[in-house]
């Protein structure tokens, strides 16, 4: 069979192909990515979009957890301080219940108790980054205001609102407890019990009973504090989990889109060799025909 006398287009097409391969390998090596355009691997490109979404959510959850953790630990340590102050008040109450005390001694104790009351009000009005921690969701105003008319000595301006924050896929954490559940819970209000104790000490009647109620209210409060302890440990374990997931997501991203350097480098050198060969072939294919031999 007669052959095609002009192989040049074929040779050029081969050269074009090898140069294209070299270009692709160079792009992969320089970008470090095997998927530089969706067509490089449509499935991986689509999965990389999902992967980036997961990574973004993961880092969002982690950031939220850090914020929440600050909030929770401040609330927790505040409640501990409140607990300490209450223990002090209980001791003072027990002391005041001793029948041998003079009126002036009791008056001094009552004054000390009023000081503790002021301290607890101030602790219950603790704010984190400008938001009152124990106001429910009415975080823009101090939840407790001293009141001479209210039997508990304070009025609560907060609400019952509890916020939930997402810290994982369909995993929400409650991040606050309103003051109405902590300090002025009906039946176990530390403010009411404390105010009653102050009045009992001042009037020297029913001090023992008042101390008992304050103890009960204090126990209730410390039971509520467990919420914060629990939340903080959940934050910690979720943080550990998300950090592990973060590695996994990064690994998946690598698997999907990172270039296999060894393979890319070998492709590049193969393509370069092929290019050399094609160039060689083209240069050899000169117009060397029978005409050159005729004299």
């Amino acid at each position: 069979m007669r052959i095609n006398p002009n192989p040049m287009p074929d040779l050029l097409a081969a050269l074009n192909q090898t140069e294209l391969e070299a270009q692709q390998a160079t792009l992969e090596i320089s970008s470090g990515k095997s998927v530089n355009e969706p067509s490089d691997n449509p499935t991986a490109a689509a999965l990389l979009v999902e992967n980036n979404d997961e990574a973004t959510f993961n880092s969002g959850y982690l950031q939220d957890l850090a914020t929440i953790n600050g909030q929770l630990s401040l609330a927790n340590s505040t409640l501990s301080s409140v607990g300490n102050a209450l223990q002090q008040a209980i001791s003072l109450g027990v002391e005041a219940g001793d029948g041998t005390l003079s009126d002036s001694d009791r008056a001094a104790i009552a004054q000390q108790l009023q000081g503790i009351q002021t301290q607890i009000i101030s602790l219950a009005n603790t704010a984190y980054q400008g938001n009152y921690l124990f106001a429910g969701t009415a975080t823009n105003a101090a939840p407790y205001v001293a009141s001479s008319t209210d039997p508990s000595g304070v009025t609560y301006n907060g609400n019952e609102g509890v916020n939930k924050v997402s810290v994982g896929n369909s995993y929400q954490l409650e991040v606050n407890q309103p003051g109405s559940q902590l300090f002025s819970a009906s039946g176990d209000s530390v403010f009411l019990a404390l105010n009653n104790l102050i009045q009992a000490v001042q009037s020297n009647t029913g001090v023992g009973t008042a101390v008992t109620s304050l103890s009960a209210a204090t126990n209730y409060l410390s039971a509520q504090q467990v919420f914060y302890g629990n939340s903080m440990s959940q934050v910690e374990s979720e943080t550990t989990y998300l950090n592990a997931a973060k590695l996994q997501i990064a690994q998946q991203q690598n698997t999907l889109g990172a270039v296999d350097m060894a393979a890319a480098a070998s492709n590049l050198s193969q393509a370069q060799t092929d290019t050399q060969a094609a160039l060689e072939a083209i240069s050899k294919f000169s117009q060397d025909s029978l005409f050159n031999y005729l004299t």
Binding site: P9, S39, P42, A45, V49, D53, A138
Partner: protein
């Protein structure tokens, strides 16, 4: 008996045929690199013999014709593959351009969607924080801007393709009118039983160029003439006359290809014109509509979610729109997407009006897992779009490679039939030269014999 003068005329015919054969070779060599040229060969035959009694005497050689060597079936296959290849190439070029805006997973619409929901998440533990609220609006703005950019770049691509359509149509017209005039020339020649030779080469070449533009079908009319139609039967060239296509501006500025008053746009499949129309009328609208649905779905769902909560104003009021309400039906939603909310305190994070409530942020965040477009969540819908663009491009690229291989194979075959081989021509020339020299020698001999005859043996050359 013809005598010496008869021999002289025989030798003369040899000289002249050898000369014409050399001329043919020379023409082949000259056209060795001419696109579409088919090598020619001189076909010779012995002259009619003179019969005298029992003797049949030769009368030299005649040049029968100069024949072009070509395989018509191969040419048809080449036309078809050229149509396919040009169409695919035109599509691939556009698809590669289109896919660049879907190329990155860490920027663009996909990342914008993720970042927007992340900004809502950051707001959740501190819902009254104005800086965090502002970053939600900023993220929304980035999302809208990237939707706008994507839609605009599709639009730009589309309008560039309209220019291509107009250009291609004018090229088609120029080629068909050239073909018509060649057809007239050929029919004159072939009627006179002549070989149209290089005219047919020109014709083939023009048809090949036309195949690069449009899906053209060739019908041989028998006398070397051709009739050209598009694959749906619209006449382009018939009986030496060309029928020009025209363009008309259709809806949305899309240039329509018209044959007279008939719109043949959607029936054009091959060539760069077919490929261009395929991308402009199928691929771009399909991607554009996916973008529109996603933009409209997201904007509507987020506006609805915001309307369920309360903003940070005093007194708090029900949330208003974050994004401009998308056009009804969603058409053009991606291009029109804008954030109308300018005051970050208008984000309705609160479910009850208290500033510290984040209850409604959960509703806004939930949009991330709602089916907002084509029954898919925002990120799934976008990721699906990326896959669609990527796989269309990669499939087209594979088709281009395959078609290029076939085309190359066919061109090799054509070369083996019609290509000029310099070796062959050189060998032929040696042969023709030798034959010419031999004929010349015969003439010299006859000359000398004639001198003998005229001068009766005295060796004097006739001058």
């Amino acid at each position: 008996m013809s005598g010496l003068f008869g021999s002289l005329s025989i030798a003369l015919s040899g000289l002249s045929v050898s000369q014409q054969e050399l001329e043919t070779s020379s023409n082949n060599v000259a056209n060795a690199n001419t696109t579409g040229y088919s090598r020619e060969t001189a076909v010779t035959e012995p002259g009619d013999p003179v019969v005298i009694g029992a003797l049949s005497l030769g009368t030299g050689v005649l040049l029968d014709k100069i024949e072009s060597l070509r395989d018509p079936i191969l040419e048809i296959q080449l036309n078809q593959e050229t149509q396919q290849n040009s169409s695919l190439n035109a599509q691939l070029e556009q698809l590669q351009q289109m896919q660049t805006q879907f190329g990155s997973s860490s920027s663009g619409i996909g990342a914008d969607i993720s970042n927007f929901f992340n900004s809502l998440m950051q707001l959740s533990p501190d819902p009254s924080n104005l800086a965090l609220r502002q970053s939600v609006l900023t993220a929304a703005g980035n999302l809208a801007t990237d939707f706008n950019n994507a839609a605009n770049s599709l639009e730009t691509q589309s309008s560039n393709l309209n220019l291509s359509v107009v250009e291609d149509v004018s090229q088609v017209n120029s080629l068909t009118s050239q073909l018509a005039s060649i057809d007239q020339q050929i029919s004159r020649l072939e009627n006179a039983n002549e070989d149209a030779g290089t005219l047919v080469d020109q014709q083939t070449n023009l048809v090949r160029q036309l195949s690069g533009l449009v899906d053209v079908q060739v019908i041989q009319t028998g006398k070397g003439g051709i009739e050209l139609t598009t694959s749906n039967g619209t006449a382009l060239v018939s009986e030496g006359q060309s029928f020009a296509l025209s363009t008309a501006t259709g809806t949305g500025g899309a240039q329509q290809v018209m044959a007279g008053t008939q719109n043949i746009t959607s029936s054009l499949a091959g060539g760069s014109l077919g490929g261009t129309i395929q991308i402009r009328d199928q691929e771009i609208p399909s991607i554009g509509s996916s973008l529109d649905q996603l933009a409209a779905g997201l904007a509507t769902a987020l506006n609805n979610a915001n309307a369920q909560g309360y903003d940070l104003e005093t007194p708090p009021v029900k949330g208003g729109n974050i994004f401009a309400a998308p056009p009804v039906g969603g058409v053009g939603a991606a291009a029109a997407m804008t954030v109308t909310m300018t005051d970050p305190s208008l984000i309705a994070a609160s479910s009850d009006g208290t500033p510290g409530s984040n209850g409604n942020l959960a509703n806004l965040s939930a949009v991330a897992s709602e089916a907002v477009a084509n029954g898919q969540t925002p990120i799934d819908s976008y990721s699906n779009l990326v896959f669609q663009v990527g796989s269309t491009t990669s499939n087209t690229s594979a088709d281009v490679d395959a078609s290029a291989q076939i085309l190359q194979q066919l061109q090799d075959e054509r070369g083996s039939v019609s290509g000029v081989s310099l070796d062959e021509e050189a060998a032929n020339m040696v042969q023709y030269q030798t034959a010419y020299q031999a004929s010349a020698r015969v003439i010299t001999t006859i000359n000398s014999l004639l001198a003998d005859a005229v001068n009766l043996g005295v060796e004097t050359a006739v001058q």
